[in-house]
Symmetry: C2
Subunit: 478 residues, 2 copies
């Protein structure tokens, strides 16, 4: 088997296939989400959806097909997305008069509809989210992380003024951070994107950024303040209290199935997946060991534990197949099941069972009377432990003492030589697009975001050496 | 306002727009599902999904784009669907080598994948469901009922033999019946489709059929036994216990957002929607009446009731806007809110409130101490009452004494003359496609299904008069 160390990308692709999360299909860049992969998404959806509704949002559904003329209405938007659009040109045996794009994002269609739905300040804010598929026909694809078709949620809100819209933008970014850190055990830096990395058509884009085990960054969620750009393009106006027409201020925000890929690349190890308990399709696997077929009490006890865990709402499997225990251990480790319980005749005699946490080396011996509470506790502590491990890994590979382009280049080449990962670097930036572009050209490191809470503040631009206006995370990114 | 009596179709379209369930879009046949419309779908999804999972199914997600060559593999399938397919022919600025269809249903893509996923009898059954959008570019569209893009679930299962696959087909039909009757309060007849009405590529199609208030039928859910047709087309074989390769037997089954339209057309009245409590986005609305602004105790009491209902998980709204009570009553009746509570100063003095059920004429006076339990009880009884009312309406309009084509024609013309609805008729059928076709040509009545439990059994064919092989529901259908 390919190791993470040797070839991270190959390890990733092999692992998600062996663990039954996905399969390739004959349609370019489109994958099938198998049940174990899709269920991770269902757990993400459930938690996000709960948080959206708690904060007053409602779900709706908008057409997937968008008129070409809609895209033309916001100049930056069409420039940003047109290179990636798939087009429907024929339907029911006839050529269409106007091409229809498969949505890459829905600001235009929703902008058009909001202009009819919003009349007065009484109609504001409009707080709507959509769960759907979306399409971006990109050159390089990678399962979950970058696929031609992906699943996502896109929130689209309209507000009375800038203050209210900006509050929404930040609120949703905070929710993303809490869900990604709490549910997926992935530590992220929240911050603002530089102008060159903004969403096409946004005034400001904010993101949460996560570090994968190969040091690369994944943009795990974005929240945009769109100002009145789409309101102007689609004439979304309201009558204010003084009876005057004003443009609404809009926001949009999204997270996608790339979160599934991120979880794999943040937590996985050479044995396969490591899934945080809160999103694992199977949280606990029970495995009889030793001469268990001759000892029916073993299966009786395991059935009992199984029923008790089910009752607690824990997602449990009992593997009583004919395979050897060693085979089963490998199989369930590959699939990233957080907790394994082993029970053999000698264990039963001693009123004990063995508990193995997926991310720890040692097995624990636990009293059978406490087995359910011991499992519950392990699931909770493991969730926190995985987050802490990921945070330590990230912090160890997020370098804050690189001050010049030359130092960065040296850092990258020495990483290559000693087989370590280059990770992220925190750098000062003067604010000039040209400096940012030069860093990218010479190192392939791109700006990730300007973190709200950087570990330190940098004073000079990594490229030109002038005074730094911003402290920025740079990294190679997916 | 248009009445149901005058113009049912116009009433339907006006009502769903005024009640904020949907909006038209500039893309032909594609609607926007507004939050109040979409939430009905969310409640349907939640209940269906729970039932699917209880019966061992898991969700997955398959690509929306399907290769043209895949459709060619099952002859009946491509013949049935090709007239309705929209095609992607260009993407990212380039013409595609092979056109990609927007899925009308996913048997082909899933068949292709299952042929890789299924190796041995140990892999069976495969029990997978998908929640997604789908596309059928139909000539005549009607919001929710028949749209170019719709939302649905499609189950796709593979089995070891015919017996197991047929058991699955019937199990899912039974779940559909239970959910549509229990959750949507829509009575249905379950039965088998005649060959001419079968799903393209199925061996047998089963359906549940519901009667709308204009007497038309809606096919509310279908479940198909596909035999080995798709297994043969896509080479889905497994190794049986005797080490021989055999084709799997597959099923598919689906329900869609047309259920939203059905709910409106089964329960609505001249005042607007009537939503069954279990799926109503707002179940209870609280309205202060009389000089309530001068009596702060009114709002205090309503806030208290509001909090108590929220705590019980009841979806409640408090309308303290400046509109008149009469305006509010109309507004919330139009939106179909099941229960309205009115509270004014005199009511409060008497420790009472008025409860108005959306489908009943009389208001009830209830003691304030019991208000929460009275509301809970009303929501439960109303759910059952709506089902009973719909069943009585259907039974009154499902005619079982029409034996000849001439009688049917007379029935239809006399309905037209006296402004009543023609409804459904139960007819004998010899089993000859030509007889079925003739009924359709002469009366526009099509066969709906061969009910498992017909109210009576017919002995002679309605068309040719020969011995009837089947007793069939005929009706005009959406």
């Amino acid at each position: 088997m390919t190791t993470q160390q040797n070839d991270f990308s190959k390890w990733y692709i092999e692992t998600i296939q062996k663990a039954d999360l996905m399969d390739y299909t004959p349609v370019r860049g489109c994958i099938a989400f198998k049940p174990d992969g899709y269920e991770i998404w269902e757990h993400i959806q459930e938690e996000m959806d709960r948080r959206f509704k708690e904060t007053g949002h409602r779900n709706a559904y908008f057409p997937m097909l968008i008129l070409e003329s809609f895209f033309q209405k916001e100049k930056e938007h069409i420039e940003g997305f047109s290179p990636e659009l798939p087009w429907v040109t024929e339907a029911a045996g006839e050529k269409l008069e106007e091409r229809l794009a498969l949505r890459p994002t829905s600001e235009t269609m929703i902008g058009h509809l909001y202009s009819n739905w919003i009349k007065s300040y009484r109609d504001l804010p409009v707080l709507i989210n959509q769960w759907s598929n979306a399409f971006r026909w990109e050159k390089k694809t990678l399962p979950f992380i970058r696929t031609s078709e992906f699943l996502w949620q896109e929130g689209h809100t309209a507000h009375i003024d800038e203050e209210d819209a900006r509050k929404e933008t930040m609120q949703m970014l905070a929710i993303y951070k809490e869900v990604v850190e709490g549910l997926l055990a992935i530590p992220v830096y929240d911050g603002q994107k530089t102008p060159s990395e903004r969403f096409a058509g946004a005034v400001d884009t904010f993101s949460i950024e996560a570090m994968m085990k190969n040091g690369k960054a994944v943009q795990a969620g974005t929240s945009h303040y769109l100002g009145t750009k789409f309101a102007e393009a689609f004439e979304i106006k309201y009558l204010n209290k003084a009876n005057q027409h004003e443009y609404v201020h809009t926001t949009s925000w999204g997270t996608s199935t790339r979160l599934i890929g991120s979880v794999i690349m943040v937590h996985g190890d050479e044995q396969g997946l490591i899934l945080p308990p809160r999103i694992a399709p199977t949280q606990v696997v029970l495995i009889p060991v030793g001469p268990w077929k001759k000892n029916p009490e073993i299966m009786e006890k395991l059935d009992e534990i199984y029923a008790a865990l089910k009752k607690k709402g824990i997602r449990v499997r009992l593997d009583d197949s004919d395979q050897s225990p060693g085979f089963k251990f490998n199989e369930w480790e590959l699939k990233g099941v957080p907790v394994r319980i082993e029970l053999g005749p000698r264990d039963l005699e001693n009123n004990q069972a063995l508990l193995k946490a997926r991310d720890e080396d040692e097995k624990q011996s636990i009293d059978l009377v406490n087995v359910v509470s011991a499992i519950e506790e392990e699931l909770t502590t493991m969730q926190t432990r995985l987050f802490e491990k990921a945070r330590q890994f990230r912090d160890a590979n997020a370098h804050i003492n690189i001050d010049t382009l030359q130092q960065l280049q040296q850092h990258i080449s020495s990483s290559k030589e000693n087989g370590s990962i280059p990770g992220w670097i925190l750098a000062g930036w003067c604010g000039d697009d040209a400096c940012e572009e030069k860093v990218k050209e010479e190192t392939k490191f791109t700006s990730r975001n300007i973190p709200f809470n950087p570990p330190t503040t940098k004073t000079s631009c990594i490229c030109c050496g002038n005074e730094a206006k911003h402290t920025v995370w740079f990294a190679q990114a997916y």
